[in-house]
């Protein structure tokens, strides 16, 4: 990001104002990847909603079997992890690798909460004999949430890699693109869940 920013003016106090950059934080390649992921999920969300049109009673009946409390915990966990990641990025921009690593480890811990709670949900449903072929609602529920679950796992792997590098003093004020890149991916994972949660668990 810093390559795209230009110092545009100086305030009366002497602080430099920086012109808005042309590109989002992080490596541009991750944003192309994020766009592709967002579009794929948009198709899935639309497919769920339009399929529901022809099976409203079935979707409402089986939506009621889902654990909304678990979904609440997971949503709060992902939002909290995103906040922690934002704090990690701020620390990295200030050149504080130790703080950056701590915030990122805290974010990973929130990711672990999500994984544990979601796994418990899957265990409950699979234990009750639910599968992809049980009915259309469960087919969408399992495939949509599991696809997202895989993104959470990948996001955690990325955050761990970035945290380890930060722990080893691998970033600086001048070069912290890796932190911003990992953060952007993790925020995307959060963004997707923010639509998935009301769509699958609440809207009826």
């Amino acid at each position: 990001m810093s390559d795209d920013m230009k110092i545009s003016s100086t305030t009366p106090g002497g602080a430099q104002r920086v012109a808005a950059p042309n590109y989002p934080p992080g490596d541009l390649a991750i944003w192309i990847f994020i766009l592709a992921e967002l579009l794929v999920f948009a198709v899935f969300f639309a497919a769920y909603a339009f399929t529901r049109m022809n099976h409203v009673e079935l979707f409402n009946e089986y939506q009621a079997t889902l654990n909304r409390d678990a979904a609440l915990i997971n949503t709060l966990a992902l939002l909290t992890s995103s906040y922690f990641v934002m704090r990690g990025v701020v620390a990295a921009r200030e050149g504080n690798n130790a703080f950056c690593a701590r915030w990122l480890w805290a974010a990973v811990a929130m990711g672990v909460v999500f994984v544990v709670v979601k796994s418990a949900e899957y265990a409950h449903h699979l234990g009750a004999g639910v599968s992809l072929s049980t009915n259309t609602f469960y087919m969408f529920y399992l495939s949509l949430t599991f696809f997202h679950f895989m993104h959470v796992i990948l996001g955690m792997v990325i955050l761990v890699a970035v945290a380890v590098k930060a722990h080893g003093d691998g970033y600086s004020v001048e070069d912290h693109t890796g932190v911003e890149t990992g953060a952007s991916y993790w925020h995307m994972v959060d963004l997707l869940w923010l639509i998935l949660f009301p769509l699958v668990y609440v809207m009826r």
Binding site: M1, M5, A15, R17, V18, A19, A20, P21, N22, Y23, P24, P25, W31, L35, L38, L39, F41, A42, F45, A46, A49, F50, R52, M53, V56, N60, R68, D69, A71, L72, T75, L76, L79, T80, S82, Y83, V85, M86, R87, V89, V90, R93, E94, E180, A183, S184, H187, M188, D190, L191, L194, I195, F197, P198, L199, Y201, V202, M203, R204
Partner: protein
């Protein structure tokens, strides 16, 4: 995050954004817990989600301080599933 403001000044607004995100999430859960349904309720919950997504994009992903099309990329994306989901729910209640 914003390229204009000093980085540390982002913490306070981002913390406020985090609080709003948590409140809207609990409100969404409360609506589900109360068993509320209907087109108006569904669209309200969806609007909460889209607003939350907008906040994530602007403040956490740092798009608020970016120029050009990248500034709006998350908002534009939110309009795609948001619009299609709204249409599907509208049609399901109309039929």
């Amino acid at each position: 995050m914003n390229g204009i403001e000093p980085t540390r000044q982002l913490i306070r607004p981002c913390t406020l954004v985090y609080a709003v995100l948590m409140l809207l999430t609990v409100a969404t859960w409360g609506i589900g817990r109360a068993g509320l349904s209907g087109l108006g309720v569904s669209l309200t919950v969806l609007a909460f989600a889209m607003f939350k997504g907008h906040l994530i994009g602007d403040w956490f992903m740092g798009l608020r301080g970016v120029r050009g099309i990248w500034r709006w990329v998350v908002v534009l994306w939110l309009l795609i599933p948001g619009g299609l989901i709204s249409l599907a729910f509208f049609l399901s209640y109309r039929s």
